[in-house]
């Protein structure tokens, strides 16, 4: 009997394991038991652009069976709160942080700390100015290329017109809008009939509208405004909705926020830049899961389109522009 004892124990263990495994299989899938926990930190809550990003992340969460904790600030420039979110994610022992940094400098230290704790960092849409942070991967839209394309769009649209462009963005420390600004500036620097200036107007809609109005009043030659993000687009639209606004200014807005779509439909916005924020959210979580699994990732290109009022109901455009609820 003693000789066969190991075999009998093995068989009993085999049966036990099989029964246990079978029981576990029949249990409903518990997301919290998934090995990967991801913190998804957006720089702003609300609006179709950020909502789509969250929806993309949710879809990826469903497809990858990861557990995703969502964090977002109300104000896009609430850097301190975003830092706290990073700290909270670290204390929650997440495996990865997918983040849209609201400041390319201020978030360096918290993200470094997270990286030192072995947390994978996936920078989404924006990035911080530090190449020394380990464990990082970026899901970025080519903002500089967008800037160049946007500039070419204007050059083609107004080949002989003298343009005084005002670039409006929240802050010089937000990489996506800064790269876009750089692309525009770089493309237009040798174009003699186009002049370009930047205005960093913050994230408060009323203040943006006021600052834009002041700028236009002070530099009366402005005949084109490009708002480089959702907040400034909303602020500039607010300016154009005032009776005193200069209706002859060509207005280029960014993101498919519902207000931007409506302003495009009513003619306040002349052209709209749509960034695929859904894809950003999806790819961010997907990338985090793949990195955590140790898989190699190919660089994902996030698409974008320029939309005019005439195109907004085209079949290909409406898919990107209007969210299915």
């Amino acid at each position: 009997m003693k000789k066969n004892l190991p075999l009998i124990i093995l068989v009993i263990l085999l049966i036990g394991s099989a029964i246990f495994w079978n029981q576990k299989r029949n249990e409903p899938r518990d997301l919290s038991s998934n090995p990967y926990r991801i913190a998804f930190i957006r720089m702003k809550e609300g609006g179709q652009f950020w909502g789509s990003m969250r929806n993309g992340a949710r879809e990826a969460r469903t497809d990858t069976f990861t557990s995703v904790d969502f964090f977002s600030t109300v104000n896009a420039l609430d850097i301190e709160t975003q830092k706290e979110f990073v700290e909270k994610a670290i204390s929650n022992n997440v495996d990865a942080i997918v983040i849209t940094p609201s400041d390319s400098k201020a978030l360096i230290e918290p993200l470094k700390e997270a990286s030192q704790q072995g947390i994978k960092i996936i920078q989404l849409f924006n990035e911080v100015q530090d190449n020394d942070i380990d464990n990082t991967y970026s899901v970025l839209i080519d903002s500089k290329e967008i800037g160049v394309k946007l500039a070419e769009e204007l050059i083609n649209k107004f080949p002989n017109k003298n343009l005084n462009i005002l670039l409006v963005s929240r802050s010089p420390n937000i990489s996506s809008s800064k790269y876009m600004e750089n692309g525009i500036m770089e493309r237009l620097k040798n174009v003699s009939n186009i002049n370009c200036n930047s205005l960093y107007a913050g994230s408060d809609i009323d203040l943006i509208a006021e600052r834009v109005e002041n700028y236009i009043n002070n530099y009366g030659k402005i005949n084109c405004i490009i708002a480089l993000d959702d907040d400034t687009s909303e602020g500039v639209s607010k300016y154009f909705n005032t009776e005193s606004s200069n209706k002859n200014i060509y207005y280029f807005a960014t993101t498919h926020a519902l207000s931007n779509i409506q302003n495009l439909d009513t003619g306040i916005i002349d052209e709209l830049l749509i960034l695929n924020s859904f894809a950003m959210g999806y790819q961010g979580v997907y990338a985090a899961n793949e990195i955590l699994k140790g898989n190699d990732l190919q660089e994902q290109k996030i698409d974008y389109i320029f939309v005019t009022k005439e195109q907004m109901f085209d079949e290909d455009v409406q898919r990107k522009l209007f969210v299915i609820y």
Partner: protein
């Protein structure tokens, strides 16, 4: 099997387990094949049923929409008969009762609204006129048209995703003239999502709807498709309207079940992932199979154990009996509960054991006889030697005319022989033994006149103790011949028998003769019989020592102490036996 030392038990268990595994594998393979076939068939049936059910639900909904269209069309056809406000009220009543209907509108040929639920807040007629649902209805010439999912472009600043049902119709205008109009019913895209939400196939399968131009009307992953995060390959089914097809999309095996939805020219496509579903079902099956296999092996082991124990336990008993055969007290018993072969083996062993035991006893008996003969022979060696010398003394006394001396000597000789014979007994009392020694000394004293004196003492309580006979006389003989015979002064021989320890007796024979060298002393007790025979010295002493050890064991026998010119002391140690 490789281990040559494996027990029958192990071999039997292994064979039985191997056999069971082979049987289970053969049965499992057959069942698995049948399971695969039936599961595959079930997957196809389940997928088809899901698609059929979804088709019925969609058809039912479409029929509802078309019935609403027919009903409202009747109102609009006779709008001026019913009155515009009355028709509008009826349309709004229908709209309020159905949260899946977004708008019900009727337009003239130019895109102007005739009547509808959103009549007061519409986009420009040109914007409406060029929309696909309008143009397709117009071209349809009375045939209805179902659009793909699109963003409604009717009401400014509202952008719901809808599917449009449109149709051209004839109506009588204010002037009583027959005109052509376009009916539009927009229903919510989310209604399709609700209906199709139930059409899940397995864990990851799904169903979607395509139109006759192979454009997707509805897809559960529509958002992912819209944002280019997912694409559906429909090339291989673009020309199929009904049936089931297997395809391999980028290494993923898919089952596609297609059905046509009535009225719409749409097709519903169910996508199942058979490998995944098979694997999922097979997991449960494999677990059940593993449990059966494990139980079979366990039961087989137990059965093998019981059977092999039944077979091997008598063999083990036999083995133990064989191991115990060297013990004198062991008596093998035949094994009753065993197979015929083992019983036969056991009986043979018992017989063999009995014969061996008998043979052993016979050998012991023979050896005893040999030993006794040897002793007898040793003993016999004393008599002729001594008799010759004594008779020589008798002759000498007789020649001297010493009758009294002759009498004494012959009497002593007579006593000597009486004790020697002892009626054939080997064992005598210690008193008899010393008496025998005394007789011998008396004889020798008469032979060697005034040459020595002797003294014999024995403790009273050991007189009756048993000893083998003729153990002192050879020692005394040696003292006389080799110790005292050549002394110038009279010799003395002291013999003392006393208790030693609690269970031993010592007979100490002490003389004051010439003594002997250490070499001679050692040689007296040597086992080299040849040396004694060659020298002629000490053979008697050696014999006594041998007899004592044979009779009582190695701890008994002689001890000799001697010193040149001082004398010799021989100590005989025997057990205290009464």
């Amino acid at each position: 099997m490789k281990n040559k030392n494996s027990s029958i038990n192990t071999i039997f268990s292994r064979i039985l387990i191997l056999f069971t595994i082979i049987v289970v594998i053969v049965v499992a393979t057959t069942i698995t094949y049948q399971f695969y076939k039936s599961t595959k068939s079930n997957i196809e049936i389940n997928t088809s049923q899901t698609v059929i059910q979804a088709n019925r639900s969609i058809t039912s909904f479409i029929t509802d929409v078309m019935q609403i269209g027919d009903t409202t069309l009747d109102y609009c056809t006779n709008i001026y008969q019913y009155g515009k406000d009355n028709v509008e009220l009826r349309l709004n009543t229908i709209l309020d009762s159905r949260n899946d209907i977004i708008t019900i509108n009727f337009f003239d040929m130019q895109g102007n609204i005739i009547v509808g639920t959103t009549a007061n807040n519409l986009r420009d007629k040109d914007e409406i006129f060029y929309q696909s649902w309008f143009q397709n209805a117009l071209k349809g010439n009375g045939d209805y048209y179902f659009s793909r999912a699109h963003v409604q472009r009717l009401i400014p600043l509202r952008y719901p995703w809808v599917i449009s049902y449109s149709k051209s119709f004839n109506y009588i205008d204010k002037e009583g003239q027959e005109k052509v109009g376009i009916m539009l019913i927009d229903f919510s895209y989310t209604k399709l999502r609700d209906i199709m939400g139930y059409a899940t196939i397995g864990k990851t399968g799904y169903a979607f709807i395509i139109d006759q131009e192979n454009n997707i009307v509805f897809h559960p992953k529509q958002t992912l498709i819209n944002y280019d995060q997912f694409s559906e390959n429909i090339d291989d089914i673009s020309n199929e309207i009904y049936g089931k097809y297997y395809s391999n999309d980028n290494g993923v095996n898919k089952l596609k079940v297609i059905q046509t939805i009535d009225y719409t020219r749409w097709r519903i496509v169910g996508i199942a992932f058979p490998n995944e579903m098979l694997l999922e079902s097979f997991n449960s099956f494999a677990i059940a199979l593993m449990i059966i296999l494990a139980f079979s092996i366990l039961i087989t082991i137990l059965i093998a154990k019981i059977i092999s124990n039944y077979i091997t336990s008598p063999i083990r008993i036999l083995e133990k009996q064989m191991e115990s055969i060297h013990k004198e007290t062991f008596i093998p018993q035949p094994i009753e509960r065993a197979s015929l072969e083992v019983k036969s083996l056991s009986n043979s062993f018992v017989e063999m054991s009995k014969r061996m035991k008998a043979l052993l006893e016979k050998i012991i008996e023979e050896q005893e006889l040999i030993r006794k003969s040897e002793l007898d022979a040793l003993q016999a060696k004393i008599n002729p030697h001594f008799l010759y010398n004594t008779l020589d003394s008798v002759i000498w006394l007789a020649e001297q005319g010493d009758d009294e001396g002759v009498i004494t000597l012959v009497t002593a000789l007579s006593n000597l022989f009486r004790i020697s014979i002892s009626k054939g007994h080997e064992v005598i009392t210690l008193e008899e033994e010393l008496e025998h020694c005394r007789n011998y000394l008396v004889i020798q004293q008469m032979r060697y006149v005034d040459k020595f004196s002797f003294n014999i003492s024995i403790e009273e309580d050991i007189k009756d103790c048993q000893t083998i006979k003729l153990i002192t006389q050879p020692i005394v003989e040696n003292s006389i011949y080799h110790g005292i015979k050549y002394l110038m002064d009279p010799g003395i021989i002291d013999i003392e028998a006393k208790k030693y320890d609690t269970n031993k007796i010592q007979i100490i024979i002490k003389d004051n003769g010439n003594g002997m060298s250490e070499e001679v002393r050692k040689s007296l007790l040597t086992t080299d019989k040849k040396k004694h025979l060659t020298d002629g010295n000490g053979i008697g002493v050696y014999n006594v020592n041998m007899r004592l050890k044979l009779a009582f064991g190695d701890e008994y026998g002689l001890n000799i102490e001697s010193e040149i010119e001082e004398g010799t002391t021989v100590t005989i140690t025997i057990p205290l036996t009464k």
